[in-house]
């Protein structure tokens, strides 16, 4: 455990949980106190996950046995490169989304901070756990918190989108349990490392059952990730919720992508014998289709937040395309692209909120409105976000797409990948340019109506600027970051390392 105290791996899970419980106990305390506690807990996560990232960076895989039960019997938390990477993206986006929420969104209803911390509890647990049923439990925790956050503040459209979101996720949870039950029934274990060992020796009699369970799991993760054709819940839910919640939700679809990468590299990877490569025929084509449909949605959107929601769908397409190609370079490209897309989409959601307030009654709809107060600052920030999202140089979106295209050169899908990624990139660029010119240039002149819309405050724009600085940082330190992503991909493609770290000696 060089450098890491024994109990560090569980701290990213415990800290938000304790903060959430304390906040629940202090629910009648002044808002300033609640904000202070919530902010302190979220800020404290950042150095914590950076320490874990540094610890995992040398290739070590820390296994934390809950209750000190040995691996196949007890639940383990595993910090490896992938988990630390996801924790880092979560902690950073959560911090900036919370800073935006402190501008007033958290006062629209009660328990915002409780739900926010519990959401982080669920997210961090999902990334750390090494047990399939525990993954289900953390999924439910993050979903239940997300239901509350999604509906926070109320309103007709929010309730309607929330109902769809809750019902489809409950159906997804049921499928998850069916899949987990089948895997347990056949193998008698739920520890992911132990499952990987057992699945590698699947007998032909059980092959169909294991394949069914594996593909059911894929359907569940695809639902969380909003992969075509299971993405329909996302645009309405993300477009109608409050801005900081939508920004935090940018990481939630990545939970599905993470689960796909973790489960299928570990349990159905190259060493898995007769069930190896279960997803090969599915993931990349579906991801390409998701990218196309998501980008069509971006082009056809009639409001900025709707456009941002479809950009989430399109980014999931790119991400899962990278994971679906399955080579080391492609996975590395996907892992580099993942925090980029989270930060960029979160920045767009936060910025869309400020733009919507500055436009008054026109909100974020794509219709010509009055010149908004603070248009130069808003327009400048929008320009940078749009450059990042469209994947243009010099920002990290370009690097991510470039790495993906280069990795695709060896793939048999190469013409499809290049064609779809480049054409959708162009479409996204055109759509974002059109939105920008409509919002900022084609105005009806100065606003004569009363009341005058509110100009954005610096405090509301600071989180957006912070997220953009992260994107610029991802370009400046692109070398070390892509090196880390590449090392992560190498680690993922050697599941026996994970297995021997969790189970001790390799059987």
């Amino acid at each position: 455990m060089n450098g890491l105290a024994t109990h560090w791996p569980i701290l990213p899970v415990l800290l938000p949980l304790v903060a959430g419980i304390v906040l629940l106990a202090l629910r009648n305390a002044p808002l300033a106190v609640q904000r202070g506690i919530s902010l302190a807990a979220t800020v404290a996560l950042v150095p914590l996950v950076l320490a874990l990232l540094a610890g995992a960076g040398d290739g070590a895989q820390y296994v934390y046995k809950l209750g000190n039960w040995d691996a196949p019997f007890g639940i383990v938390l595993v910090v490896d490169r992938l988990a630390a990477w996801m924790l880092m993206a979560t902690a950073l986006v959560a911090l900036f989304a919370l800073l935006h929420a402190l501008q007033g969104v958290d006062a629209e209803g009660r328990y915002f901070h409780v739900l926010y911390q519990l959401q982080l509890f669920g997210l961090n647990g999902t990334f750390l756990t090494g047990d399939l049923f525990n993954l289900f439990v953390f999924f439910e925790i993050l979903l239940l918190a997300s239901y509350g956050l999604l509906l926070h503040g109320g309103g007709r459209l929010r309730v309607k989108a929330g109902l769809h979101f809750v019902v489809i996720n409950l159906a997804g949870s049921t499928l998850f349990l069916f899949a987990v039950g089948t895997l347990y029934g056949v193998t008698g274990t739920l520890n992911m490392a132990d499952l990987a060992v057992k699945l590698a020796h699947t007998s032909t009699a059980n092959l169909a059952l294991i394949q069914t369970a594996g593909l059911l799991l894929f359907a569940v993760f695809a639902l969380k990730a909003a992969l075509l054709p299971l993405y329909l819940w996302l645009p309405a839910a993300y477009a109608h919720t409050s801005a900081p919640v939508a920004a935090l939700f940018a990481i939630m679809t990545k939970v599905g992508a993470y689960s796909i990468l973790r489960v299928y590299s570990l349990m159905f990877g190259g060493d898995a014998g007769s069930v190896a490569g279960l997803l090969d025929a599915w993931l990349a084509p579906l991801a390409l289709a998701t990218l196309i449909v998501g980008m069509l949605g971006v082009v056809a959107s009639t409001a900025l937040r709707q456009q941002a929601a479809y950009l989430v769908v399109a980014s999931i397409g790119s991400l899962l395309l990278a994971f679906g190609l399955g080579t080391r370079d492609a996975i590395a490209a996907g892992l580099y692209y993942l925090p980029h897309s989270v930060f960029a989409v979160a920045a767009l959601f936060l910025l869309a909120d400020s733009i919507s307030r500055a436009r008054g009654e026109f909100a974020d709809r794509f219709v010509p409105g009055f010149t908004m107060p603070g248009a130069r600052v808003l327009g400048g920030l929008f320009f940078i976000v749009a450059v990042a999202l469209a994947g243009l140089p010099p920002l990290s979106g370009f690097l991510g797409k470039f790495m993906l295209l280069r990795a695709a050169l060896d793939s048999p899908l190469f013409p499809w990948v290049w064609g779809v990624v480049l054409v959708t990139g162009l479409a996204g660029m055109i759509a974002l340019a059109r939105s920008g010119s409509l919002l900022f240039y084609r105005t009806l002149g100065a606003n004569g109506a009363t009341p005058t819309p509110t100009a954005p405050t610096w405090a509301a724009l600071a989180p957006v600027a912070g997220l953009l600085l992260l994107l610029i940082g991802m370009v400046i330190w692109a070398g070390p970051l892509s090196g880390y992503a590449s090392a992560t991909a190498t680690q993922l493609l050697q599941p026996q390392l994970y297995i021997s770290a969790v189970l001790g000696a390799t059987p």
Binding site: E140, L144, R156, V166, L170, T174, G181
Partner: protein, 113 residues
């Protein structure tokens, strides 16, 4: 007994899917409840069906698998909480949207409400 349990799970799932696809929120909630019953039975049966065996390790060699029971307990608690939440949400949707259609469709202009 295996065939009977399988039949029950199948019927519960079919009812659940049918009801969950209905257009009004109350049948949808009922359908989700049926689905969770089905999956709880399914999980329980994954420890294999044993009659008259002790629930945890006793003197004899045969015992039922305790793990699925723990899993089912967790799943029941979660699905119970989720059902309570979705009922409250459905009531809120009924209040906010004016009817209990899952899409909250208003028929103000097209026809009767």
């Amino acid at each position: 007994m295996e065939a009977l349990i399988a039949l029950i799970i199948g019927i519960l799932t079919a009812c659940g899917v049918f009801l969950a696809l209905r257009g009004q929120t109350f049948p949808v909630v009922l359908g989700l409840t049926f689905l969770s019953y089905a999956v709880n039975l399914f999980l329980f049966a994954m420890g294999r069906l044993a009659i008259g065996a002790p629930p945890v390790i006793a003197d004899g060699a045969a015992y039922t698998d305790p793990l699925p029971q723990a899993l089912v307990l967790t799943a029941i608690v979660i699905s119970f909480g989720m059902t309570a939440f979705v009922i409250v949400l459905a009531l809120k949707a009924r209040a906010e949207l004016g009817n209990d259609h899952v899409d909250g469709t208003h028929y103000d202009e097209e026809g009767p409400r």
